[in-house]
Symmetry: C2
Subunit: 427 residues, 2 copies
Amino acid sequence: MEQLRMNIHQWLIEHQCSIIDHLQRLIKAAGHPDQPENHVQDVFINHWNQNNYDVRVHPLNEVDWTKIPILYLAKPVEQLNQLSNVSALIRGSGGGRSLLLNGHVDVVPVGKREQWYVDPFGGELIDGKVYGRGATDMLGGIVSMEYALESIRKCGIKLKGDVTICAVVEEESGGAGSAASVLQGITADAAIIAEPTACQLYPIQQGSQWFRIHIRGKGAHGGTRDLGVSAIEIGMNVIKAIHRLEANRHERGFQAHLHRANGIAYPINIGTFHAGNWPSSVADEAILEGRYGLMPGQSMQAAFAEMEDVILKLNAQDKWLEEHPITLEWYGARWLPNALEAEHPWYDVWKQLPIRLGRDIKAAPWGTDAGWLAHIGNIPVMVYGPGTPEQAHQPNESILISDVILAAEEIAIAMMLWCGYDIDQQE
Amino acid sequence: MEQLRMNIHQWLIEHQCSIIDHLQRLIKAAGHPDQPENHVQDVFINHWNQNNYDVRVHPLNEVDWTKIPILYLAKPVEQLNQLSNVSALIRGSGGGRSLLLNGHVDVVPVGKREQWYVDPFGGELIDGKVYGRGATDMLGGIVSMEYALESIRKCGIKLKGDVTICAVVEEESGGAGSAASVLQGITADAAIIAEPTACQLYPIQQGSQWFRIHIRGKGAHGGTRDLGVSAIEIGMNVIKAIHRLEANRHERGFQAHLHRANGIAYPINIGTFHAGNWPSSVADEAILEGRYGLMPGQSMQAAFAEMEDVILKLNAQDKWLEEHPITLEWYGARWLPNALEAEHPWYDVWKQLPIRLGRDIKAAPWGTDAGWLAHIGNIPVMVYGPGTPEQAHQPNESILISDVILAAEEIAIAMMLWCGYDIDQQE
């Protein structure tokens, strides 16, 4: 095995120019002004065809979304209908466990252009790093998975289990692509999603759900503000009550070995607070928006009920609120939480990998498509990939090519351990 | 005196149709789409010319605003330059104290038209009330002062002191008109401003100053919100600290006999709170706007210093705020506080008036132009007039004509007591 690992390592090092070139093409395609996701998919289709994979295109317009009522569609169906997932199935020799390599092709917006000192879609190579939107999140991760697969084949290793690589759309808007991929029949005994984890293991991912709180106050002149009811002050009480709930959920959900990097295990973030429209009037309305961190192992309904209960209790404790209740609305983006059980054989595989960095096992403070694969497809998922999470969504996003290669090597070993393998005697 | 009061009362009752007609003209003029203040002034000029007063027009474009640095000009000087105060001086027979009758001709916007069930500028008479924007605040009050003056003359009473009636512009935007009137030489030994007080005495008026608080936080992903610094939470602490200051000022400023109607003597109202722009991000900025209630007897500087000190202390107590200090900006509308001293002879006059309603003495929770007359002109002012403060700035604003007549009668008596009088033997 150690010799095979060395061979894989050697092959990857020798092909780093090809890796860089491929990643640069992907970043450039992601910057296409019209339907960039389709342009990225085209790069994959071409690349996989060159590798002689059995490439399949899965248009989203074939998907019956009503089968996934829990999915929040952040974009109109007409827009989703323009997009496709793309997969390739590489058949094993038989008798092994199958594996899915999942990665998303969509990238977040560039943000403030003036904060970039490189072309956001130039794919420039500087000091061993490739720069551009999506370099880390997560085109670089898909490249690691692709070259892991290719390095195994080129090193004369024949996997026993089937491997499917799937490039999905629309992760950043809530996961419609991965959710659809399960309905499109793309599944396996286990999966890797190569989101940027700095080559750490993220067996657990926090889910999240946006919410909006609407508060009504009673206007009054500022000089007699005691005659009004300030929606701002009610908002402050709401935040205090939400923080108490957050502390309570932290107590229940905190796992020292997973959350030591997180001050709060499952934060409830109040992101916006907008109230009032005149300095000398008592604010008669406030709207708060936030993100509710969801913990694995708790149903959405149970999680929602906890927060709804906080609001109901506030409404019951105050005469004004009894008559003008605070309302809570769940809306917008939703990511399901997910946890790969520590006893699962797929988890075991990762524990057997040679540790070259000070590998860490963490609960991701954000959601991934793993929630969809697990929830709809019942697929156990390990989130692992190159690139640091801090780079994601930032200006001047970049990824170290050495990191892409390291991840490819580790993913290759994990594939071999999971799928089983023979040495191809023909090679 | 009782006979004279009866005569005045009788004259006013007999002229109530004229009072109604005049008030209706004023309300209609206030609705003129182009320079309504000038159109209201034209009604006064015509009316006073008919009374054979010595009418003077005082254009604001003659005013050197740099002489009143404390005044906040809410409108561009070019706009103010289109406007004029209008006054009439009615000379007394000599040997008496002079009096200024001050009222503002500007009215606040109509607001939501659909909330009005009458034409906002129709001046309709329904059940003894005249309806329309400005009916109460304060065209009705000026009418009371005009007819007080006229009733005295028509009842054959000759005042010893001079009386000036002055219709000023731009009270609602902060008092540029009254401030200018002092520079324009319009002054007297005492003044009445007939703002709507429901015929109660308001010897004290709360001043006010708008402020804006700018808070910087540190953005972070909502899932790791403890890595950010929430501008919303800093804002909550700012509000808490401001409320402590408010309580402290209430302790010092509360006078039971004046403030019993006010839960807070000098409120500090936080009217707007705007923070954050993404539910799942930690808010990196918050802007709070409010109104600082100013108490008479305290300089603006001292009042400002108290609030600035609150912010400075917050900044000093926190490492983040030390490096990213909260800033406090004084801006926008400013009304100076004012107090007519309880021992002042002008106050005494009002105490001698016959009490027909359950007259009350109150501190007004809002500012008036009295602050400007007192501060710049050193003129002692009593704020007293018809119409209830609750009607001001509301849809379907109206005033009881019986209230206008009652106020006219009381103002007439106050004028006689203050200026001194003889019975005109010719009449």
